[in-house]
């Protein structure tokens, strides 16, 4: 029987629910005593400091931290007990930006974004703008969590939403270990339902991609090899098809940081990240073309900085103050967690970058 998390770090009153505590850990110890170089020092070696934002391409909106799952490694510390939810007013401000910005991709995330009471309204309104790639990051189990969500595959199809879903492994044991008992079976059922309406079929425009992130204190393997293994296993065992697999590195923040420390893997993991540092991944890290919007409308360089409460280094700090010119060329705010996006082939919400 897998031991499950049932509460967020915040609900438990954990020290690590505090972003300043996380940042302290990431700045002290092996990064203070000179054992390992800081991320700033590392990117300075190749004259890539300060890291600068390029033209905005992806607007990633976190519509709330509430989730039906309490995953072992969630960087959002999401769960049923999180009450931070984006209001329709903030969504309207986001829509104004979507209409006027040059971003070609809209990426909705959470929590489980579908749990926001205004989620469907927001999707309908955003779909009208005609953005090129409209992503919803769905945890899959939400589709089977309650009758009111059963029609989500049809709803996604109607609005031509690009579904990106988490799937830690093609086996039940490894998936449930990370995401909770029963998650694998529900995810399989949800994937079959998405396939049934046309998602993930080889020639279908209805995009269905999976996100793989490791179930423990190790880095993801080669994205293409993993994709091949996932496709083979899911097809053979369940007749499931999908388009691409994004291999994403777990960043050492929030619940994953808590896990690393509790399992005495923190230092080894940071060594792995630093050893796997790839300078050519730096140029394409997602913070350089993405803007992350929090549930309350504040702007961040990425979802991870959002969780660490490191706001953008710009006069425009809120979606209501959005100004593409002010934000372009801003210095990206960095800390040691950034090593997670530059290890190996690099890592972003769209998978490898190098």
């Amino acid at each position: 029987m897998t031991k499950l998390k049932t509460q967020s770090l915040k609900k438990k009153g954990s020290d690590l629910a505090q972003s300043n505590r996380q940042l302290e850990i990431l700045s002290n110890g092996i990064f203070q005593n000179g054992e390992l170089p800081t991320f700033k020092d590392k990117i300075s070696e190749t004259s890539q400091f300060p890291l600068k934002a390029k033209k905005l391409e992806i607007l990633q909106i976190n519509v709330g931290y509430m989730c039906n799952q309490v995953c072992e490694h969630c960087h959002v510390d999401a769960g049923p007990d999180r009450k931070e939810i984006m209001t329709r007013e903030t969504m309207q401000q986001c829509l104004n930006v979507i209409k006027n910005s040059g971003a070609h991709t809209l990426d909705l995330t959470g929590g489980a974004p579908e749990m926001n009471p205004d989620f469907r309204w927001f999707v309908e309104e955003a779909a009208k703008v005609g953005i090129k790639d409209f992503i919803v990051r769905s945890n899959l189990t939400i589709i089977r969590a309650n009758k009111k969500y059963y029609d989500l595959p049809d709803f996604f199809k109607k609005h031509n939403v690009h579904v990106v879903s988490s799937m830690p492994h093609w086996t039940r044991g490894k998936t449930d270990k990370q995401r909770g008992d029963g998650v694998f079976d529900k995810s399989i059922k949800a994937l079959q339902e998405l396939n049934a309406v046309g998602y993930g079929m080889p020639d279908s425009d209805l995009r269905l991609d999976l996100v793989y992130n490791p179930s423990g204190a190790f880095l993801p393997g080669d994205q293409m090899a993993m994709e091949k293994d996932f496709k083979k296993a899911l097809m053979e065992d369940f007749g499931i098809q999908f388009h691409n697999l994004f291999a994403i590195t777990n960043l050492p923040i929030s619940r994953f940081l808590d896990y690393l420390i509790a399992s005495e893997n923190y230092e080894d993991y940071m060594y792995q990240l630093v050893d796997a540092y790839n300078p050519s991944a730096v140029a394409n890290v997602m913070c350089t073309n993405t803007l992350s919007v929090s549930w309350d409308g504040y702007l961040y360089d990425c979802d991870f900085n959002q969780m660490l409460e490191l706001p953008v280094n710009s006069k425009a700090k809120h979606i209501s103050e959005f100004n593409e010119e002010l934000l372009e060329g801003r210095n990206i705010v960095i800390s040691q967690h950034c090593y997670g996006c530059t290890a190996g082939a690099g890592s972003s919400c769209q998978g490898v970058v190098a």
């Binding site: 492994h169 093609w170 086996t171 044991g173 490894k174 793989y212 490791p214 179930s215 423990g216 190790f218 880095l219 993801p220 393997g221 080669d222 090899a225 993993m226 293994d229 996932f230 060594y271 050893d275």
Partner: protein, 111 residues
């Protein structure tokens, strides 16, 4: 000096062997890297072979390294354990097949 023969942190320093014999060290690591590339065998298959051999060689560094490597490649714990049994079977088979030599000798001397 360390009080134990093996220190897990030494694995990270493996590359340093090159410092005292640069040419040979570099040649070894170049060969090592090449061996584990995709070839007629997949990198995943090679990783499992390495894990089995790591056990028969009883090298703690290699066991750590190829357990982690397997996890990174999505190898399951069942696959890892089966690979180790392959190594164990060859080890025990290699012992037992010498039993024929013993039998031959007995038959010659006392048959």
């Amino acid at each position: 000096m360390s009080k134990t023969y093996y220190d897990p942190a030494d694995l990270r320093k493996f590359g340093k062997i090159t410092e005292w014999s640069e040419e040979l060290g570099n040649k070894f690591f170049e060969y090592y890297g090449k061996v584990f590339e995709e070839g007629a065998l997949s990198a995943r298959e090679k990783s499992l072979i390495a894990l089995a051999v790591a056990h028969t060689e009883q090298c703690p560094y290699c066991i750590d390294a190829y357990t982690k490597d397997g996890l990174q490649r999505g190898v399951t714990k069942e696959e890892m354990m089966e690979a180790i049994h392959v190594g164990a079977a060859i080890k025990s088979g290699a012992t037992l097949v010498h039993g024929v030599q013993m039998m031959n000798k007995v038959n010659k001397l006392d048959g």
